[in-house]
Symmetry: C2
Subunit: 583 residues, 2 copies
Amino acid sequence: MKPGRGPFDVWAPRADRLRVVIGGETVEMTRGADGWWTPAEPTPDVAGAAVDYGYLIDDEDTPRPDPRSRRQPAGVHQLSRTDDPATYRWNDAGWTGRQLAGSVIYELHVGTFTPEGTFDAALGRIDHLREIGVDLVELMPVNAFNGTHNWGYDGVAWFAVHEGYGGPDGYRRFVDGCHAAGLGVIQDVVYNHLGPSGNYLPEFGPYLKDGANTWGDLVNLDGPDSDEVRRYVLDNVRMWLEDYHVDGLRLDAVHALSDSGHQHLLEEMAVEVAALSAYQRRPLTLIAESDLNDTRLVRPREAGGYGLDAQWSDDFHHALHVALTGETAGYYADFEPLSALAKVCEQGFFHDGTWSSFRGRYHGFPVDRRAMPAWRLVVCNQNHDQIGNRARGDRFTEALDEHQLGCAAMLTLCGPFTPMLFMGEEWAASSPFQFFTSHPEPELGTATAEGRIREFEQMGWDPDVVPDPQHPETYQRSNLDWTELASGRHARLLEVYRALARLRRERPELTDPSFLSVSCTADEDSRVFTMRRGDLLVVANFGDADVELPVEAGGLLFATGEGVGLEAGTLTLPAHAGAVVSR
Amino acid sequence: MKPGRGPFDVWAPRADRLRVVIGGETVEMTRGADGWWTPAEPTPDVAGAAVDYGYLIDDEDTPRPDPRSRRQPAGVHQLSRTDDPATYRWNDAGWTGRQLAGSVIYELHVGTFTPEGTFDAALGRIDHLREIGVDLVELMPVNAFNGTHNWGYDGVAWFAVHEGYGGPDGYRRFVDGCHAAGLGVIQDVVYNHLGPSGNYLPEFGPYLKDGANTWGDLVNLDGPDSDEVRRYVLDNVRMWLEDYHVDGLRLDAVHALSDSGHQHLLEEMAVEVAALSAYQRRPLTLIAESDLNDTRLVRPREAGGYGLDAQWSDDFHHALHVALTGETAGYYADFEPLSALAKVCEQGFFHDGTWSSFRGRYHGFPVDRRAMPAWRLVVCNQNHDQIGNRARGDRFTEALDEHQLGCAAMLTLCGPFTPMLFMGEEWAASSPFQFFTSHPEPELGTATAEGRIREFEQMGWDPDVVPDPQHPETYQRSNLDWTELASGRHARLLEVYRALARLRRERPELTDPSFLSVSCTADEDSRVFTMRRGDLLVVANFGDADVELPVEAGGLLFATGEGVGLEAGTLTLPAHAGAVVSR
């Protein structure tokens, strides 16, 4: 993705000399006034070819990969390989896109979703996704990273698709296949930092600036020469949407982007993507992971916002997690009362200018309930972070019974927000989702593992229970076991998800995007929670006792399992059970 | 479309007695507290059946058609017939919608688009539409009207599809076929008045209120009992989008809606349609015809607007029409300077708080150029009104040469707005589009004809040149002649449209929705107009002399015809010619 440039051109504004090594041959390069270098001699034709190449910067004699490399077949430290998108025959000419409004997202990690850990194998599970009502598949980062397996958030070659997953061709087959099945694809991308190993960008140019966030050095989005760094990001956005036909992006932790320029990168991105959407005549979606509890990100630009489409809202997760598990440590503390869940469902954010004890400060802004469609908030009851960032990477599946898991699904899928499922939750997968890495450098591997374990030790965990991220079994343990679907608790929960998906498609109340269509009650004593959605009433008994509730009810449309009954206007819910009833 | 009601239920809050006549049998009805009546005895099962029925109001003995009738096989004065949407097997399960952004609309009148004048015949021309880059087909009103042929804006049975076009089944086949071909369907609907004959609504209830607009009595959108009248409108909206799978509505003359209630009907409509869009997980589009030059209609609700998607902007038409024809009578007067076209292309509205000599007052508000996507304005160089409301219903095709027609197409399709073509303009159809009616009542027919002729006489026209709307030849004359496509000027212009459609799909600059991407020049002496769109320059020579222009040009991408040349940075344009050149 070098718009208007040759395949071997590269930006290196501060280099004194640059050479490109192509298929073993070294070619001198010439610097243009804009800091882009171009080969001084003719280079091989790369149309349809796969040619290995790298750059010698100044007088260095080890070639570096292309900052915009499409393939890193031997890893992020080695030579790049050309990839010609034109070699692939797309079959999705009739695809007119899949809008976010009303859709259900399914988040998956390609490496652990199937035993094979590839795009092709993931595509083989597409019918499973359709049966649970999924509209958009969200892939955790697939860009090249250090080692063979990794969550993907420490990418260093943002334009390359991880070879182990199937590389660019596998990725194209995956997107194409999803479109054929009527599903859109959301790609998770990370622009707030670069990984700890394999980041050669600073040798090429001022990609970074002083300072660091939680994960690494800051990207230079607003200093001198930042126009070209921003184009690096924006061209990456375009690559996924144009070259790979992806339907949207999930932008990792946008609160960690450091940009005090005249237009925030996110707004510029929204403008470019809106233009691309008009050009391609299909919806293209931008979803931010944001910890800011500020809808400015997702307000239309006509309303003074940045114009993104949606943002994650962790408050829903926290309120639901606490209601289900009773955990109140750390950032869960403020969510202890059941009324927190009611506030979240009715108003979007719990922290909307309220005191956040975890942050030690006031936090957030209210949502415009009159006008903002609730689908702009993407919610979940589990995701890679909420599972994987626990000490043991355990799913709450372990601790909860079937009614509780059904309630988690019911409240996620029957609320007004955009639901996102995390792979395996639909059958209470027994596999954890642990933090895993595979850094080939022993020191980095040790440092990563020790850092991880120390972090949890400081929180009071026994270090022995924290899995070593570098140990291959940590990765293998996180792989889904598809054989368990067929029976018992797994099969029953899967049927619960399918039933909820059917209900969601049948009843328009459940996708009504108006916050004004939601009203909740939360009984702190009995721990009974109700959510009214038009003619439907969603009821969850978070308490440990059976309850009988008078309801203005015509029919029982859904129940989390055995023991739920509706008779003569009385709804019976065993402990932990939930139901959807119609008027 | 009687959500939650029986097929023969009807709202008649002020009737003392109501009977329904079903297949010749008269059944007494019972009034509910909400003013809805329901048969007091069992009625025939209408699933899959076509049953004729009508209502006897109070002691009247002539049955009236159902206000929500789906079929009026013998005309708008006669019995209604049931239609069961479930009898049709839709094939568009994979259809994920067609968004407006970036799309091209094609407006057509079903009765005159083909010799047959039916939905099925129109569908037979779908490849023609695809070849000229059409994404959305907009049908002039298809609801039942008085007589056999009519433009359709005087509908009285808003829920019935005109039998002559093919009725509900033909309509379903049309929409389904469009979806199969990748095209969406926009339906033109009229909610600002009812036609002069066949309007029995006032006998049933307070559908109307005191006062009238240009076309008829005001609809009761805000007086007592208006909730149910609003539901009549809103349920009609839902009928097209839900039952008929239509992709959007064009709302006729919304400035003539009289609504001073707590929420304007248009905002309520936008809210309902947004919810329906989320439910159906596909874009549903609302386009207003508005004479207000106020983007409040199309601002997102999050920005304090009504939340419609787009609105017509006549200013573009007027500026272009004047530039092409030199006509400056009536509402064209203010558009005489070529700079008017430049202002429109750069800023959306010409009248944005400026003096309107035709209106005799200041008019309009500026567009938010920073944030509003330009596709929210739908523009054309011809449409049913701009042609048909001329004295003779003549297309400007008659008066213009091929270069000029090419310029009209070029500026419509290469500007930042949503282009709308009017059937036949793409081949300079020789048929006019005249105002035609077929009122069976002699007095009404005479009154309509005389009114029309008098109106133009008052504007100074010879009454003999104004066609009689009631004369069958006026209708027949307006029918497109598809045989003329094959040769001469018609064939050449069609090729111009196809070339422009290709260019529009190829070059992202042309669909860039940012007003900031447009900058124009207008030379009042030479009458040369230029519009910069990124790397492209669109040039039209409205003058009568050949011109040579220095351009920073890499290539000639489009020319309106012979004689256009680009050499050594000089663009040669014969009189009236236009071109698109790249940097």
